[in-house]
């Protein structure tokens, strides 16, 4: 098992550690997990969302940086999987200010609702765009 796992909160399950460490976090614990990473001074890189056919997946990417004074380099990914019938995840935009734009983008393209987000409005597409374009079927 990868030594990077010690940086993760205890309640996540490691999905794979090659080529990069990917851990799955239950959606109700994601705020706690993100806070855990922020406390250890990880750089928040970005958020990715995709539709894998059955579920919607949101990934939070974190990266090591020299300011942490740890020997490891590279990235750590936290994944949250939600069903299409109930696509809700608590927002992290108050813990991580840059997530404000990324969550808006993921809502716009995939329709994942970030509960508690202050302004879940269109960012890239027009206000009357009829659907979430990256949803499959």
């Amino acid at each position: 098992m990868s030594s990077l796992a010690r940086y993760l909160p205890p309640f996540v399950t490691i999905e794979k550690d090659k080529p990069q460490l990917m851990a799955v976090c239950p959606r109700e614990k994601i705020r706690e997990a993100v806070e855990h990473m922020v406390k250890q001074n990880f750089r928040f890189v970005t958020m990715t969302g995709y539709d894998d056919g059955q579920n919607l997946v949101v990934i939070y990417h974190f990266a090591f940086h020299p300011g942490q004074n740890v020997p490891e380099k590279g990235t750590i990914h936290l994944k949250v999987v939600v069903p299409k019938s109930d696509p809700k995840i608590p927002t992290v935009s108050d813990i991580l200010p840059p997530a404000f734009l990324y969550e808006r983008e993921i809502w716009e393209f995939l329709g994942v609702v970030f509960e508690g987000h202050p302004r879940l409005e269109h960012l890239f597409l027009t206000e009357d765009y009829p659907k979430h374009p990256l949803r499959k079927s």
């Binding site: 990069q20 990715t48 990266a63 840059p98 960012l123």
Partner: protein, 402 residues
């Protein structure tokens, strides 16, 4: 009572359109709001409908200035899934192209900044130097932009030995110009200092909290550079240093870029010297020049340091000849999160300058409507007028400047 100034979306001087709403009280900016997507092209959606070897051309066209770094980042993500490494010579060639791109991008934004504060002579001189770098890129790849150098498992074109003296000549010229002209101007010119010093300060805490990237965050004292954090290509093999400055104001952001131009020149010189001979493409990768590979299932993220900061490409493969998801995060997207601490508190006349110092790869201000919220009166201000406002401000600072 605050008034709203909508800035944008279209502006010919900065590269791409963006709409910023400035909430102002008198001359002071008190709040900022953003609206993106005026040049939304659906590239990620298109990417899911292209094969692995068609996407690099699409990736390269994400940006008109730093296209090569997008291509490299995408290709390195695919290489990570395929578990192949380009041969050493290819890695050196990629590094040289990335650094040439950084030089011309930094020179462009330094020139654009001098233009914004009204130093047009500098603008033209720096653009003339930049033109030599562009000619060099054309000599190497056949194109001023969109070099199409990296392919899966290597590079497409070699840099022959007879080109080396030409590259060295241009690189030395750029370094000499930066050291003898650009940096002394930045350090000593009183007008420049008056416009740039202590304007739009971002301190260490804010820069880190907003997770800004690239020279913007390094100018605030955060030691991070993807070339150093997660070394790629030939960077671990050459001797170079990360430029960090602690001031965090407009001046520091541009100063870091000027110093980085010199570092890039050093990296190119060392790469040319140390470049090993040998293949430029992995033998296993040769068929993939024409036919898309079957990429194994998996999810991978790849990062590079673009001139503006960290570029991120994320790929999910389901084992076919095309990706199931291709996600790109450009550096300006990350830096826009920091536009609020950047612009709040500065003067309206400082907005074009402060905004230029984050090196935006989106942009603004063709036409500004000033809406007076008290009377509802709308005044349309053109870009030229805003620019005049900026120049008038410089003039007031130093009466001798025309």
């Amino acid at each position: 009572m605050s008034s709203i100034i909508p800035v944008g979306p279209y502006h010919p001087a900065l590269h791409e359109p963006l709409m910023i709403k400035l909430f102002v009280e008198g001359e002071q900016v008190v709040d900022v709001d953003l609206r993106l997507g005026h040049v939304h092209r659906g590239i990620e959606w298109l990417g899911e409908r292209r094969t692995w070897i068609q996407i690099p051309y699409l990736a390269e066209r994400i940006c008109g200035i730093c296209g090569d770094v997008h291509r490299r980042t995408y290709i390195s993500a695919v290489e990570k899934l395929l578990e192949i490494e380009p041969p050493p010579r290819a890695q050196y060639i990629r590094t040289i192209m990335l650094e040439l791109e950084r030089i011309h991008s930094h020179l462009l934004i330094i020139a654009a900044l001098f233009h914004a504060i009204g130093f047009d002579a500098w603008f033209m001189q720096i653009m003339a130097i930049r033109e030599k770098v562009m000619d060099l890129c054309e000599l190497i790849s056949g194109n001023r932009k969109h070099y199409a150098m990296s392919v899966i498992g290597g590079v497409r074109r070699d840099i022959p030995d007879e080109l080396k003296p030409k590259i060295l000549r241009v690189v030395r010229e750029v370094r000499e110009y930066t050291q003898k002209v650009i940096i002394p101007v930045m350090e000593t010119d009183k007008t420049y200092l008056a416009r740039m010093r202590d304007v739009s300060k971002i301190d260490y805490g804010t820069a880190f909290k907003y997770h800004l990237v690239g020279p913007t965050v390094r100018a605030s004292g955060v030691y991070t550079d993807i070339r150093y954090d997660e070394p790629y290509e030939a960077y671990p093999e050459v001797d170079w240093e990360v430029i960090v400055h602690k001031d965090g104001d407009n001046w520091a952001r541009m100063y870091v870029r000027a110093l980085e131009t010199i570092v890039s020149c050093d990296i190119i010189e060392q790469c040319l010297e140390k470049m090993p001979s040998g293949d430029i493409i992995h033998p296993k990768a040769k068929p993939w020049l024409r036919m898309p590979p079957k990429v194994p299932e998996g999810e991978v993220m790849s990062r590079s340091e673009a001139p503006r900061g960290e570029v991120v490409h994320f790929i999910k493969s389901t084992g076919g000849d095309r990706p199931a998801r291709w996600r790109v995060r450009t550096p300006t997207y990350a830096n826009l999160a920091g536009i609020k601490p950047l612009l709040v508190g500065c003067h309206v006349a400082d907005v074009p300058v402060s905004y230029t110092t984050i090196d935006p790869c989106l942009s603004c201000t063709n036409r500004i409507e000033i809406v007076d919220v008290r009377t509802g009166k709308v005044t349309v201000v053109t870009d030229a007028q805003l620019r005049m406002l900026s120049r008038k401000y410089t003039k007031n600072l130093v009466p001798r400047v025309r």
